[in-house]
Amino acid sequence: MIDKQVPTVAQALADIPDGATVMIGGFGASGSPIELIHGLIDQGATDLTVINNNTGNGEVGLAALIGNGQVSRMICSFPRSSQSRVFPKLYREGRIQLEVVPQGTLAERIRAAGAGIPAFYTPTTVGTILAEGKEQREIDGRTYVMEPWLKADFALVKCESADPLGNLTFNKTARNFSPLMCMAATTTIVQTKRLVARGDIDPEHVVTPGIFVNRVVEVPNPVHEDTLIADGRSYP
């Protein structure tokens, strides 16, 4: 019987090499897989390219991973936020690269990678500096830019419930980029609040089918970035 469960976070992350491209689910604190990110800090892989909508907050989670010097390049839509201090400092010091991608284009490029679509056209960024250097063409009288797919070696994702086949459900707006990232990564690693039995998730309610998931690790009481920051925590 297929069983994608992995007993520990450490085992789930063990083979992420230096130089890997890693998608990390979440929009700000919502859906951020804090235990997997902290596990990646413990694991120590460096020179990572990380794809996430933001760049983390405070000194936990993604911000801590960046602060620990493991990330050489960020691909995101919104690297600033009210409590984002780690990334701006490294960026201004020239110690981390940044590719800014509009949020919808970021989502669509990730989906395209998962769907086998190497490129598509979008009106987003037309007439702006973010379209500079990009191929443009007119279709039906409107100008569009071409955008390529965006793949990753690994995706780290947090979900609400998972079964041993890797079928996933999410909690509210914690869904955000996670189902797309599951599609776009060679190896998708999921932390789930609840590991349920095969058949416990109604097939009509599956959000991410197990075909997009490689490893599932149960983290029954996940910490939340907002709580950690409110408590003044840092990692490691």
Binding site: G104, T173, P179, H224
Partner: protein, 214 residues
């Protein structure tokens, strides 16, 4: 110094121009206030680009779910009839022209409908665009709510934007503290003056020619 509309009045005025049943996306800041001024007898459904339709008001401290946020990363609630979806579906709603109205704040808006609200272009600024460029290209009607001038008195309604554009030729209507302004093929035109505001004051505080009410 003239009075003009308050922030709340600007939001209420904008809400009056949104039709019943509209799907609406509200930007951060004054635009968020629009949700508090839905005209009697109308219902708007709020979209938040991080993946929800049917967004409700902020929760009480006791009934908030840390995973339930809006695009401004504030805690929100879900109204009956809401739906959650992933980012590709959410931006399909935006890019595909399914959202009726987006209300945005801005740094500058130009007489040709260009908008600049994502970057000052300063050399040391960290570029951060979020969903702004998707919204201005995809949503059917782009409304702007903004003070007519900056705190230092510079015009925000200008002939051409000097900040980097968010989108070109996309804004249709602007709600300021002084007036409602349409973006027409011939440039800015005042559609309505705030109570006690004279047209001359609006012209004076606008960075380009603006036509008087018809």
């Amino acid at each position: 110094m003239s009075s003009g509309w308050t922030r709340e009045q600007m939001a209420a005025r904008a809400a009056r121009d949104i039709p019943d049943g509209a799907y609406v996306n509200l930007g951060i800041g004054i635009p968020e206030l629009v949700a508090r001024f839905v005209p009697e007898g109308r219902e708007f459904i709020y979209h938040t680009e991080n993946g929800m339709l049917g967004m409700g008001p902020p929760p009480g401290d006791d009934d908030r779910d840390l995973d339930l946020m809006n695009a401004g990363k504030k805690y929100v609630t879900a109204l009956p009839g809401s739906a959650y979806f992933h980012h590709a579906d959410s931006f399909s709603m935006i890019r595909g022209g399914h959202i009726d109205v987006c209300v945005l704040g801005t740094m500058q808006v130009a007489a040709n409908g260009d908008i600049a609200n994502w970057s000052t272009g300063a050399p040391d600024a960290i570029p951060a665009v979020g969903g702004a460029m998707d919204l201005v290209q995809g949503v059917k009607n782009i409304f702007v709510i903004t003070q007519h001038t900056t705190r230092t008195g510079d015009a925000k309604l200008v002939e051409r934007c000097t900040y980097p554009l968010t989108g070109a030729g996309v804004v249709s209507r602007i709600f300021t503290d002084l007036a409602v302004v349409n973006v027409t093929p011939d440039g800015f035109r005042v559609a309505e003056l705030a109570p006690g505001i004279a047209f001359d004051e609006v012209q004076e505080k606008t960075g380009t020619t603006i036509a008087p009410p018809q």
